[in-house]
Symmetry: C2
Subunit: 229 residues, 2 copies
């Protein structure tokens, strides 16, 4: 075994930090996915509960609200999928960072070797060869560093452009659904009844239907508007 073996297994600092971001985003995406699935289930459960109340108003509105909640869940789930796409772009940065480090190491190693040989024998015939090697290593490293700058800047912008567009899409669609949801709630007349009152007729069925149709149409016709990146 040799000590170099362990060291080469370690990720360079730079790609290690990006790797941490990628891993945390994986957990965040999983949390959003779980929240989305729960929200879809809750939509059904609320509708199911409302039916059992045998109160026409509550039954109708809880059923329609359930549809809006389930749709919010679908948006949450779509957001989690978009986070995966963004993570893929971050991986390009991490991989490039990982590939630049060896060119830095190689350059430093030849440079060190030249110093070592010069100290031992300033006239050594090895020095010429090593200096040629150093020029080649420097050129290779120079290309790698330019690639790193380009990939980092371009992919960073691309990654967060995807991420932030996904935040905007989820947010605006969920807010839109929530605004319609509040209009739905107002279709329930909650002025108090007294014991023995006849069941109050439910008058807002047609209005509730229009609200839910409007919500569907708004989601379908929604288009993202944002600063181009």
């Amino acid at each position: 075994f040799n000590f170099g073996g362990i060291r080469s297994l370690q990720q360079p600092l730079l790609s290690k930090k990006m790797n941490r971001v990628i891993k945390s985003e994986n957990s965040a995406a999983a949390a959003h996915e779980s929240a989305g699935r729960q929200r879809i289930a809750i939509g059904e459960q609320v509708s199911d509960w409302g039916e059992t109340t045998e109160d026409e108003a509550v039954s109708d509105i809880s059923d329609k609200l359930g549809v809006l909640l389930a749709e919010m869940g679908e948006e949450e789930d779509a957001f989690a999928q978009n986070l995966d796409e963004y993570r893929t772009v971050l991986k390009h940065i991490r991989d490039t960072e990982g590939s630049v480090q060896p060119t830095r190491d190689q350059r430093a190693k030849i440079s060190d070797e030249i110093q070592r040989v010069k100290l031992k024998d300033p006239n050594s015939h090895k020095i010429g060869t090593l200096e040629q090697e150093l020029v080649r290593a420097e050129a290779q490293n120079l290309v790698a560093e330019a690639q790193l700058v380009n990939v980092t800047r371009q992919r960073f912008k691309e990654a967060y452009s995807i991420h932030l567009a996904a935040v905007i899409e989820r947010s605006e669609k969920q807010a839109l659904l929530a605004h319609h949801g509040r209009r739905l709630l107002n279709c329930i007349d909650d002025t108090s009844v007294v014991p023995g009152d006849e069941a109050r007729a439910y008058m807002h069925g047609a209005e509730a239907k229009r609200i839910i149709e409007q919500a569907e149409q708004d989601i379908r016709s929604w288009r993202i508007q944002m600063e181009p990146v």
Copy 2:
């Protein structure tokens, strides 16, 4: 032991269904809380990574973007807290549902008893007493049913008013932060460099600073605008 003991442990169907909603919302809130905490951590990690790139533009923008991401995480966490508040209101419905069932059972039990006694002995002196008991049980149940209708409608509206307002607050604030985030990204010049180019001066520091200040101010001055419920 007796068989009735088991039955009385079971929740009536109605409160059981609401209880399922309450439990699912607990999981959903936990998922949003976890997503929020991850997002706050990612904000720091992105800033930390950017510093290591030693690219002035990437370092500055990733640091400022990290601030926006962390703020999105704070909003996600506040949303999870609001879900807890809404769950508390749903519990009032569940508890009322649970307390109405015994009055229904009591009424049905006395009614059955009258039928049983009448079949056995139509002139039984017990019938008069049982009929008085039935009138009392009916009155009690009538009050309970009116309470159930009132609590269900009022608390249902209250609960989802809180829930939907929380969705709107989280969504609109996160969208606002994301829009500013996209403006930040445009402060990075990502036109390609060639090997050996001198490091390009970072020209957009002042602009990035203005964007982040504007984002802070927009969050502070944000007010909810929505359909009153």
